[in-house]
């Protein structure tokens, strides 16, 4: 067990001890290291001004992903290599992205510029031949108030890609990786008024959890980082799962997706592209590239927000959550997992190990909807997941799940009861919409009014019919009657945009 963190920054090794180990990454960079190019604008992951690369070793490679450093804490980053804007020059000279940003006036006041350069470099790490849509997609997490993005996109298109070098070329991984391989297997515990524990095995994590029942679990930190920066949370003890290999990995087993709790949303999006495209398309609109690179499926489930995007599909597919604790593991059906607003059946020593999502079989359909005011980087106002099994033209079985209409994600049992055994027709779905409307009691908040949500709750079933049947037949009034329908983000993906948010090798 170590009592300090090992963090490389721009190729240099740092050992971080005591109180300093509790800082956010952006704070560490700006104050301890004087790397002021990383800016903090919102401190909540929304603007991307603080974007940096985090390199983690995978086997003998370093894999770099961007994250928003304002909501990453150092204890999540033991045994990583951070590359900041200051570390992206080529031998002291501007790299091709930086050159293009100067040449094409990609910067105005310049406060967003370092974050934009990092995000753009990340895109080029993955893909060289890019178009304007790729660039806009890669910059979804970077706000700029000055330029209108036009000159930034033009800068991206003007990059001389022949002279681009990879991070592996700038920072030969061998020396760093051999150090990290030696040290990454060690757990870390630091106490300075507060305590954090970076667990490596499930066993020791469960034991720490049992000894510190009030401890805060942190995985990707995209929820708790925001809560801590807003001073909504100030835990005395923290359990970091970021180093647990056992919680990583995604596979298909027994016709179900079995995802380790530490699987990131970016990894889930990439993995499900083939096995459950509907899910992948939904996750495409989750947060932004740096958020998806940090956020985990375990964290999304663990946070248990009624508007979390990954969860409605787990309900609709009748999935499960696998919990592990000091006395072994157990699987809980998702419908039994939440007992109230952000309350679960999880025992004090337990944590989420895996999330299981059964795949739709032949004759089964799954549709997912995420509706927000803005398409990109916006928390949902309303979500829906609808699973249906057909027999001929009739509905054999159905599960309808709404988010954003109650304190928890809601299963619409009365609506389901009505539909079961009915013919799959527009009028039946429209009638079901009326029942759905009476079954939900949404509230008004900043993301949308209760009326708007009620209307969406009703219309989404009509939209489902149209999406599945590809027709509006049987109703002269049509579905675009001006009363509002689901956004159907899940259906408007431009295939050329895919593959930007994923990981970087």
């Amino acid at each position: 067990m170590r009592d300090f963190l090992i963090i490389y920054v721009n190729g240099r090794r740092h050992e971080v001890r005591g109180r300093r180990a509790f800082q956010s990454l952006s704070h560490f960079l700006r104050y301890d290291l004087g790397l002021i190019g990383t800016k903090v604008v919102c401190a909540e992951g929304d603007c991307g001004s603080c974007t940096v690369f985090v390199g983690r070793h995978e086997g003998d490679k370093l894999t770099y992903r961007t994250v928003t450093s304002c909501i990453q804490f150092l204890y999540q980053l033991d045994c990583t290599h951070i590359v900041t804007i200051e570390g992206l020059k080529y031998d002291g000279q501007l790299n091709p992205v930086q050159q293009a940003m100067v040449k094409c006036q990609g910067s105005q006041c310049g406060f967003c510029t370092p974050g934009i350069v990092v995000s753009m470099c990340a895109m080029f790490e993955k893909k060289r031949d890019v178009n304007a849509d790729d660039l806009r997609g890669a910059l979804v997490g970077n706000l700029c108030r000055c330029t209108g993005y036009d000159s930034i996109v033009k800068s991206g298109l003007a990059v001389d890609t022949t002279t681009l070098r990879r991070l592996d070329d700038l920072y030969p991984p061998d020396a760093i990786v051999s150090d990290l391989i030696k040290t990454a297997g060690e757990s870390v515990r630091v106490t300075d008024q507060k305590t954090f524990f970076k667990a490596v095995t499930i066993d020791e994590a469960a034991r720490f959890r049992a000894e510190n029942p009030d401890c805060m679990i942190i995985s990707g930190g995209t929820d708790v980082g925001v809560q801590m920066n807003k001073c909504l949370r100030d835990p005395r003890s923290i359990l970091s799962l970021a180093g647990m290999q056992a919680l990583r990995g995604i596979e298909v087993k027994d016709d179900a997706i079995v995802a380790g709790a530490n699987a990131t949303i970016a990894e889930m999006e990439a993995f499900t592209r083939d096995v459950l495209p509907e899910y992948s398309r939904l996750l495409y609109y989750f947060g932004s590239p740096p958020i998806k690179n940090a956020a985990t499926i375990g964290g999304n489930v663990g946070n248990g927000s009624p508007i979390a995007d990954s969860i409605p599909a787990i309900y609709a597919m009748n999935g499960e959550v696998e919990l592990v604790g000091t006395s072994g593991s157990r699987r809980v059906n998702i419908h039994d997992y939440y007992t109230g607003y952000k309350k679960t059946v999880q025992k004090p020593d337990e944590l989420i190990a895996r999330v299981i999502i059964p795949l739709p079989k032949a004759g089964e359909t799954l549709k997912l909807y995420k509706i927000s005011r803005r398409k990109d980087l916006d928390i949902s106002a309303f979500t829906a997941a609808i699973w249906m099994r057909h027999r001929g033209n009739s509905i054999d079985d159905v599960r309808i799940v709404y988010g954003g209409v109650a304190a928890n994600i809601l299963r619409l049992r009365q609506t389901e009861d009505f539909l079961r055994g009915q013919a799959f027709t527009l009028s039946n779905l429209q009638h079901a919409g009326k029942i759905a409307r009476s079954e939900v009691k949404p509230i008004s908040d900043v993301r949308g009014s209760a009326d708007y949500r009620l209307q969406l709750g009703e219309n989404i079933l009509t939209k489902f019919f149209i999406d599945v049947s590809g027709t509006t037949s049987g109703n002269g009034n049509g579905w675009n009657d001006g009363n509002g329908n689901g956004n159907g983000n899940g259906h408007s993906v431009d295939p050329t945009l895919e593959g930007i948010a994923g990981e970087v090798h």
């Binding site: 604008v41 200051e86 310049g110 406060f111 706000l143 803005r374 928390i379 900043v446």
Partner: protein
């Protein structure tokens, strides 16, 4: 292209010749710079340029020809500070970290309306990290009544109002300590909704007349306005009766109501500064649009000589009108530095930034336009109420007053006080609101008259610049293919719209600089003026380079420091208009001294020498040349230096005539797609055609235009300050729920510039920051109308708003 706009262009053509005595002077003024009558190009490049004479002060640099004939000015030039910005090396106020520096945190109010009964700081002072505390005696950013100036503590009038600040060695400690200060309030009834606040029995926010001290960047409405309850105003312009009578002669009238929301500035760098109080000198690193405005305010508050206050702004991360003066935060940081005897950094956090340092006021507008059958306007009337929170200056009548020729214009602007943060200047104060109503009104009028919206504007707008801009924009957006409103089949409907902007050629004569040339060939430009992202640093380098025959990168531009000669504030699009002629004049004067020094070495007289392409040579013998560096070595003194000052605009009454010609123009077009099933609006393309006199750096100007467009689109579709009417709390004080446009919401922007010459200064350049943002929201709304056939008179045009508008149209037609 050019032949379309003939020399007989109506109304706006510069037909009036200046009645100057025709002194027999050589045209090539460059040879005889000390004359007092010069000839200037006047008109629009590519349309018509004439030569006109102006009487100018003898200290002025000679006239420049149009951009086409210049080497550096008018050529797209990458920003000279680009490298510092793309590498993260550029140091902003938020990055200043001095040895021993303390961090401060504001103490803000938690209730919307109250009198402070007591303040208990004992718990805070006991904290081991406590260093100092200071409480304000008043809210320096808000309006105030005469009576309360005697109070010890500020009246609390909104949630999040700064009351004081503490400092400690780390930000986390300062945050903790600020929470330990206990304030006891006597709460009073409050109101945050302007409609409610207008009612006679609403809680009164200011007992007695309230005035808001304006800052250099605006904010603060007109003074001595009558006040009735929470309504301050109206401030009327024009004659009401005359307009009423004129309406009777109209063949058609349109009457429409509009609503616009409160928008916060959302500069990425928040307000704030680092103050370092030393017994003989106060040094401040401020994120400001006016170094001298910060100096002046701090000198006044702390009773210092202006020479004892130094304000530095090397880089700053956006202001958009809100960053002038020292503000509550600046005064607090300085008090804390003085008390703690250490430098103090006070940068606001994002929540505070939304709450207490300004916003664009809302508006509730009633517009009436009357016209003859042929489109000729006969009368316009606008009544506008807006809330600037606890500030003043919510007027929206600028565009109605100034954009179109109309014999009877009557406007009334009123402020409605509410328990919300004060407004401040925001990119073209009042104008995006006013254009949102006026430009939709003009489109409605065109529809009633069965006229094309562009043809109507050709009829009623006498600005020569906008005429050309309409022509260019119409061609680029494909106006001729525009379809009738709401005619697309299917749920996704597309439309094209247009809207116009007006802004004014404003300048500040308090603009000065030095240009120095040293023996080693280095050239420096020094002025207090600050580059807030607009690129003035680059423009100034270009002007000096042009004058000395050098490249912009040869010039070291040292700005943003009150130790240098007084510079103008950067607000209201005054900067380029104010400082660029000064740079030209100083560079010219330095050049004369320089040539005087090196002429003997070349064996000719100074006036026989020319400077170009980095060389100095006799005009009649270009082959006998020295490089600039070689020539500099020949100077007999180590350094020559010259001061530049801003003269008045040349014969300010001369120049283009007509109403529209008094200001700057700008015409924008856009194409939108509206998904009528979800209510989502996507702006697919923007063509923004603008003018700013002589563009110094087209690249920088276009960048400003793009910035105006994004803020306009964001205003039209997303942004909205939301206050909870039960608690007075702003519920979206972040960038998650307060949405600003992101990369995929923004379309391709086709920014086009025209070059318009007036013969008014030695550069003839004007600003562009404001005009670019005026027309956008109106333009989107007009395009949405063309798409769906329903006029949306309220912003932000969220999906819910669009769906509601579509539904009410259906109801109406059913």
């Amino acid at each position: 292209m050019a032949e379309k706009t003939t020399t007989e262009a109506p109304a706006a053509a510069p037909t009036e010749k200046p009645p100057v005595p025709q002194a027999a002077l050589p045209k090539n003024g460059a040879e005889k710079p000390k004359t007092d009558t010069q000839t200037y190009p006047v008109g629009i490049a590519g349309v018509k340029i004439e030569e006109e004479e102006r009487k100018v002060p003898a200290t002025e640099a000679p006239p420049l020809p149009i951009n086409e004939k210049l080497a550096v000015i008018g050529k797209p030039t990458p920003r000279v500070d680009g490298r510092a910005k793309v590498t993260g090396a550029a140091k902003y106020s938020a990055d200043i970290n001095l040895p021993g520096m303390l961090f401060a945190k504001l103490i803000t109010s938690t209730v919307p309306h109250a009198i402070i009964k007591s303040i208990d700081t004992s718990a805070a002072e006991k904290h081991p990290a406590f260093r100092a505390i200071h409480m304000l005696d008043r809210d320096r950013s808000a309006a105030q009544t005469e009576e309360e100036k005697k109070d010890n503590w500020p009246r609390v009038r909104y949630v999040g109002q700064p009351l004081g600040a503490v400092c400690a060695p780390t930000q986390a400690h300062a945050d903790d300590i600020a929470r330990l200060v206990k304030i006891t309030y006597e709460q009073k009834p409050f109101v945050v909704d302007p409609d409610k606040a207008k009612e006679p029995n609403a809680p009164i926010i200011f007992q007695g007349n309230a005035e808001q001290a304006g800052t250099a960047g605006g904010g603060g409405g007109p003074k001595d306005v009558k006040q009735n309850g929470n309504v301050r105003g109206p401030v009327a312009k024009g004659e009401a009766d005359k307009a009423e009578i004129a309406f009777n002669s109209a063949d058609v009238t349109v009457e429409l109501d509009f609503r616009t929301q409160v928008q916060t500035h959302c500069a990425l760098e928040t307000h704030g500064l680092v103050a370092d109080w030393k017994p003989d000198m106060l040094t401040v690193w401020a994120s400001t649009q006016g170094t001298s405005s910060v100096r002046d305010e701090l000198a006044a508050v702390f009773n210092l000589k202006k020479s004892q206050v130094r304000v530095i702004t090397e880089y700053m991360g956006g202001g958009f009108g809100a960053k002038f003066g020292a503000g509550n935060y600046g005064v607090l940081a300085t008090h804390l530095s003085k008390k703690a005897n250490a430098p103090v950094r006070l940068m606001l956090d994002r929540r505070e930034e939304h709450l207490c340092v300004g916003n664009r006021p809302s508006s509730i507008q009633k517009l009436k336009i009357g016209a003859k059958k042929d489109g000729t306007l006969v009368a316009m009337r606008l009544q506008s109420y807006g809330t600037a929170g606890v500030g003043t200056g919510a007027g929206a009548s600028g565009p109605t007053q100034n954009l179109y020729t109309c014999p009877a214009i009557y406007t009334e602007d009123s402020d409605v006080f509410t328990n919300a943060g004060p407004s401040s200047a925001f990119r073209a104060p009042g104008h995006p609101q006013g254009a949102f109503s006026l430009e939709q009104g003009i489109d409605s009028l065109a529809e009633k008259l069965k006229m094309d919206p562009l043809a109507l504007r050709d009829k009623i707008d006498d600005s020569e610049a906008r005429r050309e801009e309409r022509r260019i924009g119409a061609e680029r957006i494909g106006w001729k293919d525009r379809k009738p409103a709401g005619s697309d089949a299917g749920p996704i409907k597309r439309g094209i719209g247009v809207a116009q902007a007006i802004w004014y050629r404003i300048m500040n004569r308090d603009s000065h600089c030095d240009v120095r040339i040293t023996q080693d060939g280095s050239v420096e430009f020094l002025s207090g003026v600050q580059d807030i992202g607009t690129g003035i640093r680059t423009a100034l380098a270009q002007i000096v380079a042009e004058t000395l025959g050098l490249k912009p990168t040869d010039i070291t531009v040292k700005i943003g420091d009150t130790n240098y000669p007084q510079g103008p504030n950067s607000g209201g699009s005054v900067t380029t208009n104010s400082i660029s002629p000064v740079a030209r004049n100083a560079a010219w004067a330095a050049r004369e001294q320089f040539l005087g020094q090196v002429a003997p070495a070349l064996g000719v007289s100074a006036d026989e020498l020319e400077m170009a392409d980095g060389r100095v040579f006799p005009k009649n013998n270009p082959n006998q040349s020295l490089t600039f560096k070689q020539a500099a070595k020949k100077m007999k003194v180590e350094q020559v230096a010259a001061r530049g000052d801003r003269s008045d605009d040349y014969e300010s009454k001369k120049g283009p005539r007509g109403k529209g010609a008094g200001g700057l123009g700008g015409v924008q077009f856009c194409q939108v797609a509206v998904d009528t099933s979800t209510g989502h609006i996507k702006v697919e393309k923007v063509v923004a055609v603008h003018d700013c006199g002589r563009p110094i750096n087209p690249m920088g100007v276009k960048s400003q235009v793009n910035g105006g467009v994004i803020q306009g689109i964001s205003y039209a579709l997303f942004e909205n300050r939301i206050l909870d009417r039960n608690t007075g709390v702003m519920v979206n004080t972040n960038l998650e729920q307060y949405k600003i446009a992101g990369s995929r919401e923004m379309p391709e922007i086709d920014a086009q510039l025209i070059e318009q010459y007036w013969g008014k200064s030695s550069t003839d350049a004007a600003g562009i920051g404001e005009p670019a943002t005026v027309a956008t929201a109106a333009c989107v709304a007009n395009a949405v109308y063309n798409a769906i056939g329903v006029r949306i008179t309220q912003i932000p045009m969220t999906p819910a708003v669009v769906l509601e508008a579509l539904a009410s149209k259906q109801k109406a037609s059913a």
